[in-house]
């Protein structure tokens, strides 16, 4: 581990509990690099996570860390941020955690435009419980609860976030680690609700059940399918079919909830 990022880890808690080849560690690495570049005060930064493989991330990080209940990370984080707006609050959540059981909290946190930096570890599956399909599992993909292929349609999470009112929305993959760091930095600088969806590889469940090969093969898949908006523009509809855009997808300004509340307090005080 690079010495400049060591300080952000609880080294005594490592090695982590994730499977060999899991993408989650890559996200963590990009996250702490972003925090380092942002020069955030470690004592005034809180990591809030839900339940799942992804959500275990909080325990490895040397900040105030809150490992909550399944799906509720954003609701706990809203409490932390609203009570103490001066804290930097990051939310680390899985695709199931955020979009299934936590879907309601997700759209409402976005609607409030509360200043939380939310990183969704999207491995397209419920990893921790052994590989059941999630609202982010693509149609026809296999999971232990869709043995004949998934009949449901997945969310377009970034579109959902935009529609709900998020003011910074981006997507990337665990292949594009430098971009991930940059997006976290930009997302954190946004004064409002920021979503960074990270397509990550779960070789143990999603990869194995869908015959995606080794972790390296899954990373190559990400490299070949996640493309910039500019490249996407130049593709014909057929070529676009299995591609997705990475980078900043949406950026706007809107009143931030805790700031608006502060204004109210000042007006009344």
């Amino acid at each position: 581990m690079l010495p400049e990022i060591e300080q952000y880890f609880r080294l005594e808690k490592l090695p982590h509990m994730w499977c060999p080849g899991c993408g989650n560690g890559i996200i963590l690495h990009s996250l702490v690099k972003a925090i380092d570049k942002l020069c955030l005060d470690q004592d005034r930064t809180t990591m809030v996570s839900g339940i799942g493989c992804a959500a275990r991330a909080s325990g490895y990080l040397d900040f105030d860390t809150l490992h909550t209940t399944h799906g509720r990370a954003l609701a706990f984080a809203t409490g932390v941020k609203f009570a103490k707006p001066e804290l930097n609050v990051f939310v680390l959540t899985g695709d199931g955690d955020c979009t299934a059981i936590g879907g309601n909290h997700f759209i409402h946190a976005a609607r409030r435009n509360i200043n939380l930096t939310t990183i969704v570890f999207n491995n397209n599956i419920y990893g921790m419980t052994g590989g059941q399909y999630s609202p982010m599992t693509p149609n026809s993909c296999r999971a232990t609860t869709s043995p004949y292929g998934n009949l449901e349609r997945p969310f377009n999470l970034t579109e959902l976030a935009i529609a709900a009112g998020a003011t910074f929305v981006a997507r990337t993959t665990t292949y594009h680690t430098k971009q991930l760091t940059d997006l976290i930095i930009e997302g954190h600088k946004n004064k409002g609700f920021s979503l960074i969806e990270v397509i990550t590889h779960c070789p143990t469940s999603f990869g194995r059940q869908n015959k995606m090969g080794t972790p390296a093969d899954m990373l190559k898949w990400q490299r070949d399918h996640g493309i910039s908006a500019m490249r996407y523009e130049n593709l014909n509809p057929e070529e676009r079919a299995d591609k997705f855009i990475i980078g900043v997808l949406h950026k706007t300004e809107a009143p931030e909830y805790t700031t608006e509340y502060q204004k109210l307090l000042e007006k009344l005080g």
Binding site: G59, T65, H67, R72, V80, A83, H108, L268
Partner: protein
């Protein structure tokens, strides 16, 4: 605060009691008959620099207050039956992670949506066992407007002292009833704040407790950089599956309450000394019972009333004493017999235990209770 008596509702007394106790963070979702608490606090909290948040549902409300509490704020939420059900998972989280918070449940008739505006006391056992797994709980139950204020303050004091969720088990009668009360002045009532660590970050073990079993609690953002989880954890706060540590933690969670039962449990008893029959009642029902007991006394029957203010932990010692004295016991409550089960358990055959139960959306009337008193009083044991 004004020294003039004011005509206020139980729900308003609860809101004012919370502010008096130092509560500055509320998150909730509206539901009858608790909604006034939210409405009053939406107006009052910003006036005193506090935070009011209407969340998207009760699960989120419970989560948000736990987050708020971790930053050092005194926090509360208020709800009623259906919402109380939704809060249960995160109430368990607060038990496990030892997060001070107060949950007011203004009971209404259930199950399910039931009748939104009808009084009931059907959540007594849910308050005790609503969340999964073994856990201790504190629940207080007021029976007047003044007491709604006092027990709300007490609920915060206990939550802060023991780092636990405390349930304020109100009912529709007490929540909506109006009475003239003079609210206490600042300083008149003790207000307790949680103990914070004084040691350095290196020496801070968030779940290491001394003799009283309640560990000091650091605030997020103050440099302690610690971990909080709903998983079983060791003194450092990190997850463990070691049976001996699980055993240590679960025992400590219970001991921190059980070692302090004398402080936590309060009740009132009137005319029980010479009584042959003691009626046990709480909340709204206790008001009708008081009236019935008075009438029974006028008829020459030696009847008293025992009224728990702390419903959980159950006032086992006091009720055990009544049972040991051989007095007949009559439990009156607006449900199908929830506290009754506890009284029967504690009486353990030492005294007769009777009941006057009603769960039809109406407050039990004094004459119904009086009729039951006469019946039980006249009846020889064993008949």
């Amino acid at each position: 605060m004004s020294t003039e008596p004011r005509l206020i509702q139980g729900n308003e007394a609860c809101a004012e009691g919370a502010i008096y106790a130092g509560m500055r963070f509320y998150a909730g979702y509206p539901i009858t008959p608790s909604t006034e608490i939210a409405e009053i606090l939406a107006r009052r909290l910003p006036q005193v620099g506090g935070k009011f948040l209407q969340m998207e549902d009760e699960i989120a409300s419970m989560a948000a207050i736990i987050g708020g509490s971790l930053t050092g704020a005194k926090v509360m939420t208020a709800t009623s039956g259906p919402g109380f059900s939704l809060k249960q998972e995160n109430i368990g989280y607060a038990c496990m992670a030892e997060i001070p918070c107060v949950i007011a449940n203004v009971q209404r008739l259930g199950p399910s949506t039931g009748v939104a505006t009808a009084p009931a006391q059907g959540d007594v056992m849910q308050a005790r066992w609503g969340t999964h797994g073994d856990h201790p709980i504190i629940a207080l139950t007021p029976s007047s407007v003044r007491e709604a204020f006092e027990l709300t303050v007490r609920a915060f004091n206990l939550a802060e002292q023991f780092r636990v969720p405390v349930i304020l088990l109100m009912d529709e009668v007490v929540g909506h009833m109006r009475e003239k009360v003079t609210l206490p002045q600042p300083g008149e009532f003790p207000v307790v704040n949680r103990v914070k660590p004084t040691c350095s970050r290196e020496n801070y073990y968030p779940y290491k407790a001394d003799g009283d079993k309640t560990p000091p609690m650091a605030c997020f953002g103050e440099g302690y950089r610690y971990h909080v989880t709903g998983l079983f954890h060791d003194e450092s706060g990190f997850a463990t599956e070691k049976p001996e540590i699980i055993d240590w933690q679960l025992k400590r969670l219970h001991e921190k309450i059980n070692q302090h039962l004398d402080e936590i449990i309060t009740y009132t008893s009137e005319e029980t000394e010479d009584a042959d029959l003691v009626v046990i009642a709480y909340g709204g029902t206790a008001r009708a019972v008081s009236r019935a007991v008075k009438l029974a006394r006028q008829e020459g029957r030696k009847v008293g009333i025992f009224r728990p203010q702390t419903i959980w932990p159950f006032p086992e010692a006091a009720i055990g004493e009544l049972a040991a004295s051989g007095k007949k016991l009559l439990v009156a409550e607006m449900n199908y017999g929830q506290l009754l089960l506890e009284v029967q358990r504690v009486a353990a055959g030492r005294s007769e235990v009777h009941s006057c139960l009603q769960s039809n959306g109406e407050l039990t009337q004094p004459d119904v209770i009086l009729t039951k008193i006469r019946e039980v009083y006249e009846h020889a044991p064993g008949n």
